[in-house]
């Protein structure tokens, strides 16, 4: 019942997002918004706010979708190896010097038509999540084995990445900065690079909300209820990975957003994916914009990378989640 009660939470999340955008535009070393610093607001702060919102919303949406499709509240980009896989794909492109995005500009010429960075990140992430799934399923496919398989795949991807970096010393610093996850040099071109992928895959994920609820009763029962389980699973994993890879290629690895935000949403508005997905998008966007503000306001000149901030908040949260879920399962 009360199927409309989540609209209230959605509205509240929207209001928080509005506050986050205003604060994000107002706060910075150059002071509040005025005619004098309008140029800074339009070319530095607003792109950063837009990118933060895009990245946060996308990571939260993808995280919630992974959790739904794997029926596991403990999985996210990191736990499934998607982050490391996408990172490996991106590292390859940077080492080859064929990217036009800001991370790659110093390394070589801009790629003329389609930037290969998001594509490489997507392929790397997709390969990683499939490997994790296959390995996890072959060991019983329960919640713990899936996470452990993700750890193994992550280690493998990181090892290959280290090998590539060792042979391409010139891109080490560039890749390392990117790995930390940062919004510090956000520009409108980053937003433009990630936007098409995230909008398309976001729409696909949103269209599968009802199916994610069906999967909650298990693969067999969902199929007996007439759900094409394999098609749903494949579509959702591909869309979530594409969205994740697109934002990872412009912001680097920002962890735990996809784990923390959907979980908070479930506690607030119930666990139906019908409401979890849309509220997670908005709350994820607001969350990342807000978390990014102290990082750039507190330390002038020496920013705290946002990936560090989210990991510091998210890792303890994950441990608490692991404990409580262990008691419940």
């Amino acid at each position: 019942m009360n199927r409309r009660s989540w609209y209230g939470w959605f509205a509240a999340a929207l209001a928080l997002l509005g506050v986050a955008v205003v604060l994000g535009a107002m706060i910075g070393p150059a002071g509040a918004v005025s005619r004098a610093n309008w140029h800074i607001v339009a070319t530095v702060r607003l792109p950063r706010v837009a990118l933060g919102g895009l990245v946060g919303g996308t990571l939260a949406l993808a995280g919630a979708s992974y959790q739904g499709v794997f029926r596991n509240p403990l999985v996210d980009t990191y736990q499934l190896g998607v982050g490391a896989g996408a990172g490996l794909g991106a590292t390859v492109v940077m080492a080859l010097g064929i990217t036009g995005s800001r991370m790659g500009l110093s390394a070589g010429h801009a790629w003329p038509i389609v930037d290969p960075l998001p594509l490489a990140a997507f392929l790397g992430g997709l390969a990683a999540v499939f490997l994790t799934y296959v390995v996890g399923a072959s060991f019983g496919g329960n919640r713990a084995t899936l996470v452990l398989a993700g750890v193994a795949v992550t280690s493998l991807a990181l090892a290959v990445q280290a090998l590539i970096l060792q042979r391409n010393n010139d891109v080490v610093r560039q890749v390392y900065n990117w790995l930390l996850g940062s919004l510090s040099s956000a520009s409108w071109s980053d937003v433009r690079l990630a936007l098409p992928y995230t909008v398309v895959s976001g729409a696909v994920l949103m269209a599968h909300r009802r199916h994610l609820d069906l999967l909650r009763v298990g693969e067999e029962e969902a199929q007996a209820l007439g759900a094409p389980v394999r098609r749903i699973r494949l579509t959702v994993v591909v869309a979530a990975t594409m969205a994740t890879a697109a934002v990872i290629s412009v912001s680097g690895l920002i962890g735990f957003v996809g784990l923390v935000v959907p979980h908070v949403v479930r506690m607030l508005s119930g666990s139906s994916y019908r409401s979890v997905l849309p509220i997670s998008v908005v709350l994820g966007a607001a969350f990342l914009i807000l978390v990014d503000i102290p990082g750039r306001a507190l330390l002038h000149g020496a920013e705290i990378p946002i990936g560090v901030v989210t990991a510091m908040l998210g890792a303890p949260f994950f441990i608490v989640l692991l404990r409580t879920r262990q008691a419940a399962v």
């Binding site: 019942m1 009360n2 009763v217 029962e221 007996a224 094409p228 479930r266």
Partner: protein, 260 residues
Amino acid sequence: MGSLAFDRVTVRYGERTAVAGFTEHVRAGEWLCLIGPNGAGKSSILRAVAGLVACGGSIDADGQALAARTTRQRAALVAYVPQVPELPDDMTAWEYVLLGRNPYIGYFGRESRHDQALVGAVLDRLGLRGFAGRLLGQLSGGERQKLVLARALAQQAPILLLDEATSALDVGHQQQALELVDQLRVEHGLTVVSAMHDLTLAGLYADRLVLLHQGHVVSAGPAAHVLRPETLSEFYGASVTVHTDDDGTVVVVPRRRREG
């Protein structure tokens, strides 16, 4: 609506043959109960009807092959209640029963007013309206069992498959659930195919029993015909006494084996 014809249905899991050439016709509105020891192939037959396991031979519903239908079309014909249904603790009863409407909703569609109204009517019918907003994790075993039936009912399928659906309940709740299934069968003209372990209850509710052993039918017919001590001893390895009450009810009572 709802007749079911099995023609030489075979189910294999790798090398093992679980069901070997099962041929049977279930009339619309009939209650057929599959009995037999563990591993006899009861569940495999039900799972084959639900499309959860591949099978040889053919299963027709109302004269049309089930295999020729899409997953969704099949779900509109056949509702399946598994032995251990998965009820997410944090899902509400309303959301759960609403899942039963999936066969009538397009891939990108959403539940219509009609679907919502129907779920309300099903909950009313089973006396569960008050539980609509409750989380499944907060409900008792009996209430949860009723909700699984409610979901199957919301599916509006003429064929209902029950795989040991009441085995986990105490005798009172078991009786209530089976009584409810029988009422619904009469009200909606449902065809019921169930797998059951309790032979007395099986004989009490089903029109016909089919006794399976290692994938083969070894006896079929009314309870008085199938439930005989020598038959049960042969295939279950059980030592039982069978009583027939004055009203024709067949009661199967286990007996202690006395040595020497």
